[in-house]
Symmetry: C2
Subunit: 313 residues, 2 copies
């Protein structure tokens, strides 16, 4: 590989998918983060951030992308230094895998500059170092789909076992991001440490059904099976207007609706882009009317490509 | 339909499949129960049992097949009576869905005699009445596959939602039945009512992986994912020699191994009948050596037909 400079895009992701808490995630088309990395003569890492907001740390010691790049430089020992620019295009604390997108973009960019780049899936442990830095836990349900694309099952962490689900990509995912922020740690802190066996059985029945529905591209089955009887009832309290928004989505024709990641973004599933627009409008209106919150809207099928180099020089 | 007499076969089934506790089950080829039903002029039900063992109640008030037949007569009000013979070919308390097979065979037999038989799937609620009589709870993870064939997901009970998983039928299921008996109620009584969130997440990760593996016919994935971190550790205590048997199965080449239903039968998965025989021998030897128990062995792909009329007159 002779790239002197690469620009990489890593997409946002919806993790949990309701009943698949901590194990399922999928990539969407946008938003996403861009990372540009250039070889430089001096060793080490030079890092900067381009961001519209002020909540993204530009100090390399605090930034997840810089942390991932530093880990890769430590392990791969390239005979050059790296100048890296993170273009932060995603809101932080949105439930859309913002830290995962930055981490993944950094890993893919550094890898592309190496003399012998490693296969994409070997970059996942580095991206997880970024996730660990962001939230204290190296969860892979955003990083895996942002990196690999598609719908990923994180079956186990010890050893790390990630399976790409062979989906029929017909379902349309509607994501509404209300302009409030939830810290992943806070969303995790309020979860119960023990749950009723009966609820757990109901949940893994839905997880299995969700898996079948994704493979068949059966939007009704997926809609029924995103139903999360354990985490959603607890986390919904952190999202003003959630119940009104979910009701609005279902009344507007969504097959199912739940929280994206740890929130506050809310996703709904449906069968067509046209129906997706109608559902999104109803959800946005419900957020405005019930909680006086403005929103962004994303409507997308599953992004099957994941992170990719978009420019090389 | 002009049948005056029908003979019906309903197969045994493996429920739970490890991580799919209370939601998954599959039918195997044999053993299974036979029910013969004949129209008779006098109204009501005349019931008898042909069985090698003495543990099957022949009193119609205590027998699940008779109970199911009585329920169907009550609901469908045929203008004839029914003479029913249950040929009990399966061990009771084996973890192979014995009561489900009897219940299903009775339901299918009565249905075949009706002037307007209902579709097979509408018989499930009647078979569940038999299950309720047998163990106090109307679980469907044996009855659904015995009735419908294939691998069934019981996604929900209220409303009853059973999904046949579109499997690639390449995996070989080895079942070893040690000659001891476990009462389903006892196996259920010892289960915890609450479980750790962390274990639940691990379990539904395996449930999702198991579902993918069944659909793809991926024996290695299915083997990894039958791993049950919640119920098996508790129920293993009821099965003398379980850990030695599981170890023997894995060492003989099985991809995975767990308890069939509530036990004491143990199942293993592998890719071919030849390997299945080798694994079965190792498991039988382990039961003998570690617990001095004799066993029956069944080796089968998934039975995709389920219960069926084998003879009409």
């Amino acid at each position: 590989m002779k790239q002197k400079s690469v620009r990489v895009y890593a997409p946002a992701s919806i993790s949990n998918l309701g009943s698949g808490f901590d194990i399922l995630g999928l990539a969407i088309d946008k938003p996403g983060d861009f990372v540009t990395a250039r070889r430089m003569k001096e060793p080490g890492l030079k890092f900067s951030v381009l961001s519209a907001g002020s909540d993204v740390p530009s100090n390399p010691n605090d930034n997840v992308a810089a942390h991932v790049a530093a880990m890769m430089i430590r392990d791969f020992r390239p005979d050059f230094g790296i100048e890296m620019i993170l273009e932060k295009k995603m809101p932080v604390g949105s439930g859309l895998g913002s830290s995962a997108a930055s981490s993944v973009a950094a890993a893919v960019a550094v890898n592309a500059l190496l003399k012998k780049p490693v296969p994409k899936n070997e970059l996942l442990p580095f991206a997880l170092e970024g996730e660990k830095k962001a939230s204290g836990a190296g969860h892979a349900d955003n990083a895996a789909p942002s990196l690999l694309g598609g719908v990923c099952l994180v079956r186990s962490y010890h050893p790390l076992d990630v399976i790409q689900i062979p989906i029929r990509n017909s379902i349309v995912w509607v994501v509404v991001h209300p302009h409030i922020s939830i810290r992943t740690e806070e969303a995790r802190r309020i979860l119960p440490v023990a749950i009723a066996m009966e609820s757990a059985v109901q949940q893994w029945g839905n997880t299995s059904g969700l898996t079948i529905g994704l493979i068949k591209g059966d939007v009704k089955l997926v809609g029924k099976c995103v139903e999360d009887v354990i985490i959603e009832p607890v986390r919904a309290k952190l999202i003003p207007g959630f119940h009104a928004v979910k009701k609005a989505a279902l009344e507007a024709g969504a097959s199912g609706c739940s929280i994206s990641g740890s929130g506050p973004s809310v996703f709904a599933v449906t069968g067509s882009a046209a129906s997706g627009k109608k559902i999104a409008s109803a959800m946005v209106r419900a957020f405005q009317q019930s909680a006086n919150v403005e929103c962004d809207v994303m409507i997308s099928k599953v992004n099957t490509k994941g992170a990719r180099v978009v420019q090389t020089k």
